[in-house]
Symmetry: D2
Subunit: 409 residues, 4 copies
């Protein structure tokens, strides 16, 4: 069965192709010279199916998208309490102060801002680690999350180090308050190498899907972090991930996310999917313009929203006694997640007759409709008798691709 998702992702990219707002990051030549027209999208579901579109093979530096993963590593290496002692979990709010350190503790407010990310980097491995070991720790974790060996782009790292005044300022200030102990220059060098890991959109979506699946890499099945660590990372991304205007992003888009100045962007929906985008043109806040718009589209059109009531499963599966008929009762909203799992379930049924009951469904999104019909079409190709109970006409004109339609019930 051919899934309609890649086509859908291509459509989203095509619609964004004319958007040329923003500019590549200009502070180092390696980023500035990136081809601004490249763009790519990828989704990996929590059970490990990856879909991508566009320049999916293009590698770029991970930059700030490394932050949630280094935070996860720091928690694994030092324990959650040890990390909370020196890095908070609160949004940094309207950016009126330079460093976003908390008043009394001087903790960085969260690990998604540079101060918190440098602190998390400093916590990697253990108290007496070398700078090289820290970089290897995060490189190695990200590699296992992505499912392939990742490398540091040393040229980008070297360039960034030359203009690292802001990060040096932060590292010196963190030393002032005893938040970190290592020499400022050494920390910043390690941190910019962390940020220079080369990834593709497929890597990023797989890394995020591992968070979504509670720490289990969905392709290898390996538990790369305890579920409570994945939970902590996703919650912090929701509270402080992408925008000063945390509430606006959480309500309107609803995909906890993090972006990087090389144009990458990653998002996560727990239990559902890891999502990623790439396009080097940045807006004034340093977020990929097309990346941000792609996320908005995925949320609006595919119901990919943390608070979407997209149940992600048939409400009830009724199998008759003699093994010849199955009834699948859906409920609520059918968008990407529910439809994807419906397709999975349909593949396991071995019945002569399948009745899809959508009488309790109130909304079917465009992508949900396409996927549901594709599932029914394929069942019929397999010789199954396909029936539909749809008194509310939530699936009007259910053309199965060949002009045929399911039997009405």
């Amino acid at each position: 069965m051919k899934t309609p998702i890649p086509d859908y992702l291509e459509e989203v990219l095509a619609e964004l192709r004319d958007v040329d707002d923003g500019a590549t990051a200009d502070y180092i030549p390696e980023l500035a010279s990136a081809d601004p027209d490249r763009s790519a999208l990828a989704i990996t579901s929590a059970d490990g199916s990856t879909y991508s579109a566009g320049d999916a093979e293009v590698a770029f530096t991970i930059q700030s998208i490394s932050k949630p993963f280094a935070y996860a590593a720091a928690i694994m290496d030092r324990g959650l309490d040890g990390v909370l002692e020196v890095v908070g979990v609160e949004p940094s709010g309207e950016a009126f102060d330079e460093l976003s350190l908390e008043g009394e503790t001087h903790r960085p407010k969260n690990p998604m801002i540079n101060a918190g990310a440098i602190t998390a980097h400093a916590l990697l491995v253990g108290p007496t680690t070398t700078a090289a070991d820290r970089v290897e720790r995060i490189r190695s974790l990200c590699s296992r999350l992505a499912g392939r060996e990742l490398a540091v782009d040393e040229r980008v790292a070297a360039s960034e180090l030359e203009t690292a005044d802001r990060n040096l300022a932060i590292a010196h200030m963190l030393r002032t308050y005893g938040i970190v102990d290592d020499p400022a220059h050494e920390l910043v060098e390690g941190y910019v190498r962390q940020c220079a890991l080369l990834v593709t959109v497929e890597d990023l979506s797989m890394m995020a899907a591992t968070l979504a699946a509670g720490g289990v890499q969905p392709r290898t099945g390996e538990q790369l972090m305890p579920p409570e660590v994945a939970r902590q990372v996703m919650a912090v991304m929701a509270a402080a991930g992408m925008y000063d205007a945390a509430g606006d992003w959480l309500t309107r888009v609803g995909i906890p996310a993090k972006s990087g100045v090389a144009g990458g962007m990653v998002g996560v929906l727990p239990d559902r999917a890891g999502i990623s985008a790439f396009s080097p043109r940045l807006d004034a806040r340093g977020n990929s313009v097309r990346g941000r718009m792609a996320f908005e589209r995925l949320s609006a059109d595919m119901g990919m929203h943390l608070f979407a009531a997209d149940r992600g499963l048939p409400d009830r599966v009724e199998l008759d006694d003699d093994g010849t008929a199955a009834t699948l009762v859906l409920r609520g909203t059918v968008e990407f997640t529910a439809a994807a799992q419906l397709l999975d379930l349909m593949a396991t049924l071995r019945r002569d007759t399948v009745l899809l009951d959508v009488s309790r469904v109130h909304t079917v999104s465009d992508v949900g409709r396409r996927m549901t019909l594709e599932g029914l079409r394929r069942l019929r190709l397999d010789g199954v008798r396909v029936q539909l109970h749809d008194p509310g006409e939530v699936l009007p004109d259910p053309d199965l691709g060949d002009g045929g339609r399911p039997e009405r019930r």
Copy 2:
């Protein structure tokens, strides 16, 4: 099949019985004189099963818990854009200013603070509404959400009006900026009557479950608000619901929530459940002490966390060709949601043999374990041959209640 959930809720309440920190709200006699030892808990799942424990029949005034529901009504009555024009969606942050109005627009920062809630109240019905119609609008909506007719406690409302200086201050300031037009006293009177709606924990859990189910009242099946309205309300509760320390609550507890000064508290997990608690002793921020602790326990022990990878469904259901055997493959974490749905699914299978495959499960919480074993026990009572594939021993000592155990596979 007897569900173990009420027992579990009773246990939580029992453990909190000795907690007597905090005090009843003292600013009006009606609240101050509440019996401080009353406590209750309730959960309503997104498909409408309600479980409760403790003083579940005691009614108390809804107070600030009315805010998310009045916000929903305002969006339905005026459109999301119309509401966003005058009320924001951002956390109000560390409460250093009195009114939490946004800098340039003077919008209240969000509808969960009094300024935003009074504004949302003012938007009810339409521009030329009477004060009485506004109160009736919210009373009527809450009644349908709860599934029974709710009434205003006019004595509490009258008392609160006498000490309403803070709300009057807010209403006058909102008039100053043209955020509201109605006379300040009239608005505040309507708002305190909204806050004086009498509810029980079961009412609250049902109201929240309706949000969780995307706006569909799970018992009546009535769509009481569009799914995107429910989504907006839940997202705003997550961003700004309960604490100044939004990130701490979102990471540690992970249940978008709202509390009221009469001791009530409500939480919501999209697609999963509405949760509520009641206990009149309040902490310094006006949250129910035991209520807050109960939510912490439900999150820690039952995996009720927005970012818990509690998939809420069997990963794969394999039915053999001859209709005699079924294999249920679980994956990830099994906590309350997954287990509850597993029990539902088990009830629809009509097979001689059921194999539960937990080889890809990494964690089973206490409540998840109890519920899973209860499901298997009941299958055996129905004469089904029960098998378990558990190479990782995630369900050690699977006593089915009668000393018997499933067959190992």
Copy 3:
């Protein structure tokens, strides 16, 4: 001797006559309909000489300029400690919060903002005062400060009361925190009547000169407030009087000041002078546009600056033994204050010969030069032999008005 000061003030007004930026306050008809082209200036020196120019006879409502004087009255009525308990003395900073109450105490930050001014008004007379007595208290004090009976413009007061939402908001909030006890409406009514006192620029300059003279009304010699009260009021005006940008005003203009929305403006230089302006066109912050510019001119041209090293006295007066000659040695900067006092001193000398030694003077402002030469001219008219020791040529071309020049020494 004709003083050149009124001519100087006329010049300043003339230069501002074409400035028509800004607009009259539009929130009540009585202020909106003021003739926008009226303008006036007045200076009263600390020893009671008043100079004015322009529409000096036009009366306007005092508005926020009543704040420093009500603050003085509150301190006299309740003691400084009693007032500091409920009103602070800190600048309110960049106006990011609505009410400028301090974090823990909820005190209004200072008495120059409305919250602090309403609190100061509430403190007038004593704990059990009537609203009418409070208004009479401030009316009576301002009358004695001005040296004539002032009246309340009841029409303006009534109009302002109709649109007093902001002040009502403040009064209700102050009640919430126990900062004030009286009914909100009663306080605001008294406060708007205080603000509706009718004054002229000469009144205001005399009121401010009383502060400058340490509480002694310079014309009547009456001690209207203890010197430490005058000191407190002037210091608070410096810290929090006129602008959010307190440092900019203090460095660039250097005249502690307060403005009112009817177009009035008052400033004070301790020991030197009270200064006032009137012009109804306001800038975006509610300050008189021409008033502000006039203050800038007086500071730049006349050296009227709190930190100007304008010593205000001859450094040394040498009188020879036989009573025939006097030497006046000046030092530093000679601007308005020094020159005015030099003229006073010259009038008391009865010598055949007067030598003015400016060898240690480094700067003579334009107005300082005009006044000094006027003093010498007048001495010569009285038959005195006038000599000048000016090796640094700080008084080049010392024409005494008739083409004559002092003897060089």
Copy 4:
């Protein structure tokens, strides 16, 4: 005539001798090992008389007290506009942010905080200066202000450089925003050497007296900075000099001031005096505990307050025609300044009879009383007939030291 001022300063020190709150700065050994019991006070009047008490010969490092003088040098070297472009003049307020850079411009808020002081240091001399030239520029200016050659304590400078993380953080951040261009380490090295200039309290009081005298070194008569530069520096000290609580210091103490972590403290009253203190024990904000208390005493007892109506001169001097009698009419408050100038004036009168008229004086402080009586006593020693007109008894029991009293008039 022996002035009572040194005795007075000794008394102040004696009363503070038992105060042992606070501790020496502990972050570098050279400061930590200072003798904590040392203390000293000095006053230099605007006409160059220096009075001191205590350990006046002990040298200590100037530390942050160098800031106002480096700011003056920067303005002279780059022009006021050039400096305002990169350093503001506003108080930094309640220290909730780490660097106190302004929102849009990223200018440090004022030159009294480290960020502004490092920026001012960077502006010294000109755009292409060496680090050594900058240090020499400020050393040379401070030397001329103090009236003797000052030296850098290179050991203290070297020690401070080792723990300069905070200043390095600031310098890197300033580079980020283009506020400074020089290498961070070079700037900080120069800045800590500026802070390591060795001074005594007499040096500091003379440096401040030069500001008070409008830029003229009162002993050498040399104009070391234009009067408008001195004015700017004093105004910024008033707005942002010593405390977050700028309004509290300005109202209660009223002496624009700056302190250093080695225990020094300097204050200035325009036209009147430079004031300094030294005592190494610091409070939590890094201000000398005894220094702060000494300033509070000088303000309370000697009327040394920016807003004290201490006119600083006889109001009228009447000389009779025949050269035998003089009448000195005083007015207002008589404290340190007025009394000091009265003594100066008395020394120039050559009259058989002197009548002191205090009928228009309302307050005479303790120090004012002592000094006035000392002046009269000395006149009588010179054979002058001394008369007093004091109907209000503001100088009760005017014992001239020998039991004698002036004639009553």
